[in-house]
Symmetry: C2
Subunit: 394 residues, 2 copies
């Protein structure tokens, strides 16, 4: 017998893998300037610190850190993560915290808990393409919500809820991926009210929150939720290290948390104890505030350089001016095709992600996402100049 | 709006979480002798060794160990895992290896790649209850295959294939969980032939293989597979440390491996690089052979003590005599109820897992699974004497 596509599950057939992760493979070319990724800067990573914390954790907990652990998570980390999240205006106690493999797994087990094939899920238009892939793997019906410079348009979201009766709404409220836009205070409050009014779970995906370079922090959507409809998903990937794969979801509804724990049980039994213990120690030693201050200082300068670099782009280009995060979003003059530009740009050793990948329905061919965290100032200057030239030539 | 059961996905409704993991919670009681778990002995775990390897890996790879990695896995670990598996008579190269979060995740992403709701999956009767839970979460139709003292009965399996057209067969060939039975050489060959003849993927779950205390190693089912129908799933949980959550699947069919990688992308992006690097260093330094010799020496004595302890059980009890692994399986005289015994046993501070949990269809109330790896000799002696007494009294 031969393997054929027909052997595979239907929900996997239309999915060809994350476009971004495929783009990454092109970027190994020497001399490439990449604005395509979403990684933290290498200068933000601290292998010596992590090494010291790993040693301390193994000395402190001994064999118990190497045995099987609870699916619910490593309790010291649940405590320190809850305290950290309370500092981000999340209402939670240690018992509400489910440690996950980055934010990715929090969304995966939430989908697993809730979604029957065909169930509607609302998401921002555009939104994170990893989330689009995850929702498709659960055969969800993706319903894009219109957005503007303040994020999701609440009235439109309410009409879509009435029309599609979604179980779930997926929102990245702060320095959104891909746009960099932050949901306004009033809209945060309003979305929490919609969740409760219509019985819709909100997945509040907030991994960039503490990468703020200007303006004041806003309360989370979760802080306006009285009934446990909002699942707050945080991650230490952008703050400490993505390679450790440590995230934390705050899930205040015990029934929902239980279903997510059961889903995680079958997915990976539990998260590694060592990686949870490393991030726990990082938090308990109080290393986070100074670290965030340092990396935000660097990222701010990088963002400013990228914003300045748009002077090389054709007239009629519009772009966001984010107050934080890792991304700037741009729309080239109507009629331009960022996919075509992408091919020419890669030949010229500069890369980005075409914006069409972030739309559930495709289209929007003139948009693009640019990352500034992985490039130093001379590289950003050179790359924006080069990219502007390639765009003008295409 | 209030949360109700109706909000959740249908595939999660009948699932209440692993019975074993719930039993674990009872075992915190002081003085409890537990034969219920499946953990390695604490004396088999080496926190100082792991600490040293973590330091070395972070010094060697620096920030690249903390950045995002490939979903396909950390290449040095793929190489060393492939070499390790070749030593276990698995046909594989580094490119065939998908690192996973323990064996659990290998099976989860394999199910995700293959199973539409209602698809049939064959499994041994009895089988690992975590696998039963995972298959149910994908709405698979579970079809139990009859087994005897040499494992799966091949003729019966072939009839079931003809009747149910399964996509997948799940087999634990060596020191099976829960029975401790090893699939014979001839049957390994025959199952590989069935897979190819009928186009059935075999999930060969082999995490206990190197915990052999007597007899000679047998070739894997995978070694008889010419066409890539067998996915070999190994894990370092029982050999190095379950808390690290490091497993490795050998998937020789590139299309199937690609689908599993895509499924893992949405599940957790990738496995932590640090934990993969620790196991990689463990293998490259050649620490495994002496470690396995030491722990197998200890486990052999523990197994022998447990087998001897059956002298305290009622006449008519039958039990397996495994050549390795972590478990012994027993059937009490017909009419006895291991669930009833379990309650009385826990009150008397001795625990095991009632065998009914390992049957997809329940029943088999007189069976039980006993673990010996977590108890020292005096504890095994005392526990078997106590358990024998409780059984006789019930």
């Amino acid at each position: 017998m031969q393997f054929t596509e027909a052997l595979f599950a239907e929900h996997m057939r239309p999915i060809t893998g994350s476009a971004i992760r495929e783009i990454f493979k092109l970027l190994a070319k020497p001399g490439m300037i990449s604005f395509a990724g979403g990684n933290p800067s290498n200068t933000a990573l601290e292998p010596e610190v992590v090494s010291g914390l790993a040693q301390e954790a193994l000395a402190k907990y001994g064999t118990s850190l190497l045995q099987y652990g609870a699916t619910d998570g490593f309790n010291p980390f649940r405590e320190s993560a809850a305290e950290f999240l309370r500092g981000s205006m999340v209402n939670c106690e240690a018992e509400d915290i489910l440690p996950t493999q980055g934010g990715t797994q929090a969304f995966d087990v939430l989908l697993k808990a809730l979604i029957n094939p065909g169930d509607a899920v609302l998401c921002e238009s555009p939104t994170f393409l990893g989330a689009i892939q995850a929702m498709r793997e659960y055969n969800a019906k993706l319903v894009p919500m219109p957005t503007d410079h303040e994020g999701v348009i609440v009235e439109a979201a309410e009409e879509l809820i009435k029309a599609h009766h979604p179980k779930l709404m997926y929102v990245i409220p702060t320095f959104q991926n891909p746009t960099g836009i932050t949901l306004s205070l009033e809209r945060r409050k309003a979305l929490a009210q919609l969740a409760s009014k219509y019985g819709v779970v909100i997945a509040e995906d907030d991994p960039y929150r503490d990468l703020r370079y200007s303006g004041e922090p806003l309360p989370t959507i979760q802080s306006f939720d009285e009934e446990g409809w909002v699942v707050y998903m945080s991650s230490f990937s952008k703050y400490v290290a993505p390679g450790l794969r440590v995230g934390a979801a705050a899930v205040r509804n015990p029934l929902l948390r239980r279903k997510m724990v059961i889903g995680k049980q079958s997915a990976d039994t539990h998260s590694p104890l060592l990686t949870q213990a490393i991030v726990d120690a990082y938090l308990r030693k109080g290393l986070m505030p100074a670290h965030l201050a340092r990396i935000c200082g660097d990222y701010k300068v990088q963002l400013d350089a990228m914003l300045d670099g748009f002077k090389h782009f054709p007239e009629g280009t519009v772009h966001t001016v984010p107050q934080g995060g890792l991304f700037v979003w741009a729309a080239l003059p109507e009629g331009m095709d960022a996919m075509k530009v992408f091919k020419a740009a890669v030949e010229n050793n500069v890369a980005f992600v075409p914006g069409t990948h972030f739309y559930t329905e495709g289209g929007h061919m003139n948009t693009l996402r640019l990352n500034f965290s992985m490039s130093d100032i001379p590289t950003i200057n050179a790359g924006m100049e080069r990219l502007g030239r390639v765009i003008k030539e295409n």
